[in-house]
């Protein structure tokens, strides 16, 4: 049974592409190209002051990796045009007689214009430029501090989005490979009317399900290992915690993905509908509502509730726990329990459904 399914998959080049190329593509894309961090903000500066201190300010700015000065227009009008055309996302204007006023202890604020269209980018840009100005001030005046803020970042000390996106993508890959591919397998038998032949074979419902799922299980495990290795070797995303704990959760989660796919396949009985349903109910929710790159905490309550129903949420917690936080089993026991219950529930449902079908 399992062998037959393996041959089926191998024969269909497109499914193979889905099984191996998409995971590779996703990991590489997310690891190399897609980042939510902000570096080298394209900026334009206008120096109306032209004094040693204003030049010093701009020198500091140019040396800072967060900013990339592309243009030095001479008028504000030109600078606004650059912002309108999207050539820069930040304009810094040093007002005339800036140094003079500073010496006389009168305020003469720097003007900073930000392109706010992308709020994530703009907020980060705003955060960096405010920090930069405050730093520059502290370098110049060394003020007294009554509050000594010691901010420490845990788990992702360098604050690189790659470090949480690459592990997170594993959860999405499993859903694509597991649920979307398997959603087709039983529906295919129904469509080709081979289901009736299978029903008369001396094959129990349990054996049938395992046989259908097993090849995809191996494909999914292979994909996960490829993703982990790529992350480790090429992208420098190292696992801080215990590999085997993660593998245990991964096996549970793959089981859930496969069962979901088979469930959809049994219920819909049509490949086209099954494919639609699988994309809508497994892949999209695990991408959007699992806290992968979109913070669930900011969503309205109904989406928060939906998020608590999908397996990806719990698997992602384990992924983050092992990859970034290095926590032990005791911290993850709740997530493991929920995943196990989901798996058991789905497998039983599938078994009962097939029995009712007369298997």
């Amino acid at each position: 049974m399992a062998r037959k399914e393996f041959y089926h998959t191998l024969r269909d080049i497109r499914s193979l592409y889905l099984a191996f190329a998409i995971p590779l593509l996703l990991v590489l894309l997310f690891g190399y190209a897609l980042s939510l961090d902000v570096k080298g903000i394209p900026s334009a500066v206008i120096d109306h002051d032209q004094t040693p201190i204003s030049r010093d300010f701009l020198r500091h700015l140019a040396a800072n990796p967060y900013f990339h000065i592309i243009f030095r227009p001479s008028t504000t009008k030109e600078a606004i045009k650059l912002l309108d055309y999207g050539k820069v996302t930040m304009v810094i204007i040093i007002p005339p007689a800036w140094a003079e006023k500073l010496k006389a202890n009168r305020t003469s604020p720097l003007q900073i214009l930000l392109d706010g269209s992308d709020p994530n980018y703009a907020s980060l840009s705003r955060a960096y430029i405010t920090t930069f100005i405050e730093d520059f001030r502290q370098v110049k005046e060394k003020p007294v501090l009554l509050l000594d803020s010691r901010i420490r970042v845990w788990f992702n000390e360098e604050l690189e989005s790659r470090l949480f996106i690459v592990p997170g993508i594993i959860a999405v890959i499993i859903m694509i490979v597991g649920a979307i591919l398997t959603s087709l397998v039983i529906a295919r038998e129904y469509e080709n009317v081979t289901m009736d032949t299978i029903k008369v074979l001396p094959l129990s419902a349990g054996e049938f399900l395992v046989g259908k799922a097993l090849p995809y299980f191996f494909i999914a495990v292979t994909d996960v290992i490829i993703a982990m290795l790529l992350g480790e070797i090429l992208l420098n995303v190292t696992m801080k915690g215990n590999f085997w704990i993660l593998m245990m959760a991964t096996v549970l989660y793959i089981g859930i993905a496969l069962s979901l796919g088979l469930f959809i396949s049994i219920v819909t009985k049509s490949q086209l509908v099954a494919n639609h349903t699988a994309v809508l109910t497994t892949y999209l929710p695990s991408l959007l509502l699992s806290n992968f790159v979109f913070p669930v905490n900011n969503m309205p309550w109904i989406l928060k509730f939906l998020s608590s129903l999908i397996p990806a949420t719990y698997y992602l917690r384990v992924l983050m726990g092992i990859y970034l936080k290095n926590v032990g089993v005791s911290y993850l026991i709740g997530d493991f329990l929920i995943l196990s219950f989901m798996l058991l529930g789905l497998m039983t449902t599938n078994y009962l459904l097939l029995r009712r079908e007369g298997m």
Binding site: L114, Y121, L146
Partner: protein, 373 residues
């Protein structure tokens, strides 16, 4: 080319499209659902930040610091106590985003004029959110510091008043929806026009009616026009619907001209319909077409600047994005919605879309004809 024949084909296409009940949700519900979901899912605002507070001082000064945070309405306290390990644990289990440690002699040090440590532990897992929270924490601490200094010395302490006045344009409140909703409008148009075109052609092939169409006096170009124009019209209608929804439901400002938006969508459709045609030539069944669409959409989506800023991508990948019509469409639609810019700012993007569209369309038509022969 005979307009009458083409018109007949378009007419037939519309009848088929609306007769099939399965198509109805695809035409109306899917775009609206996407708009709603993306409108609410993608939200990077700094709000509802959970603080685990370990205050071992419990004095007027320590409360002043905490109140400065709570006053911003961005932060709220989920745990309050003297047990700092417990507070840290909440960060580890993900039940708090920040942990504050205020030591027992916090006030004594401040009253002596020394700097008192305030330790903040930040969950860095989601790095972009963490950076934003750090910046907010940092600026609140800086302003509290200034306030405390003023109380302590009775005067402003700063000797060099270097400061920046920040103004954010186009989206002054930095609302995530303002950025993402116009993007979804473009994305929905792309997805549906691409999918519907390829499906329509493959359906004819699957049922064998494509051969029948070929023996009719219709020329291949008439066939192609008849197969694409209906979906272009539907895409335009959807654009109107989705835009209206964006403006009325999400209260998105539409600063620029609707005419330019219409023009841009028309140009954009050239590329997406061409891709639909192309997919129909490489797929034999609707199943395969669905999958191929999925493969095409994914890189288009990722490399368009929809969620992930293009400026962050490595050089080679950034070059690739120049081939992506969705990239230009996003710039155009965001420019029109948020910035209110006109043709003088957008002509570059529009030209690029025209060039890509014509290139793709010619290639697709060539391939399509070859498949027919």
């Amino acid at each position: 080319m005979r307009p009458a024949a083409i018109f007949e084909l378009i007419h037939k296409e519309f009848i088929q499209l609306f007769r099939d009940k399965k198509n109805r949700p695809l035409l109306v519900i899917v775009p609206l659902l996407q708009l709603l979901i993306f409108g609410y899912v993608v939200n990077y605002d700094v709000k509802n930040v959970r603080i685990a507070l370990c205050d071992q001082a419990k004095t007027k000064e320590s409360r002043a610091v905490v109140d400065a945070f709570l006053g911003s309405k961005i932060f709220f306290v989920t745990y309050q106590g003297e047990n700092c390990t417990r507070a840290d644990e909440l960060v580890i289990t993900g039940k708090a985003d920040l942990a504050f440690h205020i030591g027992p002699n916090f006030s004594e040090m401040i009253l002596k004029g020394q700097s008192a440590p305030l330790q903040v532990i930040v969950d860095g897992t989601m790095s972009n959110m963490a950076s934003l929270r750090i910046a907010t924490v940092w600026s609140i601490i800086a302003s509290t510091n200034r306030k405390l200094l003023k109380e302590f010395y009775g005067t402003e302490q700063s000797s060099i008043p270097i400061e920046g006045r920040l103004r954010t344009w186009y989206n002054p409140n930095l609302e995530s929806q303002y950025f993402f909703v116009p993007g979804i409008v473009a994305f929905v148009i792309m997805l549906l026009s691409l999918l519907l075109t390829s499906m329509a052609i493959i359906k004819e092939r699957e049922t064998g009616t494509l051969e029948q169409l070929l023996v009719t006096p219709l020329t291949p170009s008439e066939l192609i026009i008849g197969k694409t124009v209906p979906y272009a019209l539907i895409a335009l209608l959807q654009m109107v619907g989705v835009t209206a929804f964006a403006v009325y439901w999400f209260e998105l400002p539409l600063m620029g001209s609707l005419t330019i938006l219409f023009l841009a969508v028309l140009i954009f459709l050239l590329s997406t319909l061409a891709l639909g045609l192309f997919i129909s030539t490489i797929s034999a069944t609707r199943q395969q077409a669905m999958m191929s669409t999925f493969f095409f959409i994914l890189p288009f989506f990722m490399l368009s600047g929809f969620v992930f800023p293009i400026a962050n991508m490595p050089f080679a990948v950034r070059l690739l994005t120049y081939l992506n019509p969705l990239r230009y469409m996003l710039t155009v639609i965001r420019g029109i919605f948020l910035k209110g810019v006109g043709l003088d700012a957008l002509w570059g993007e529009l030209t690029a879309m025209v060039v890509i569209g014509i290139a793709l369309f010619t290639a697709a038509v060539k391939r399509f004809r070859k498949r027919l022969d």
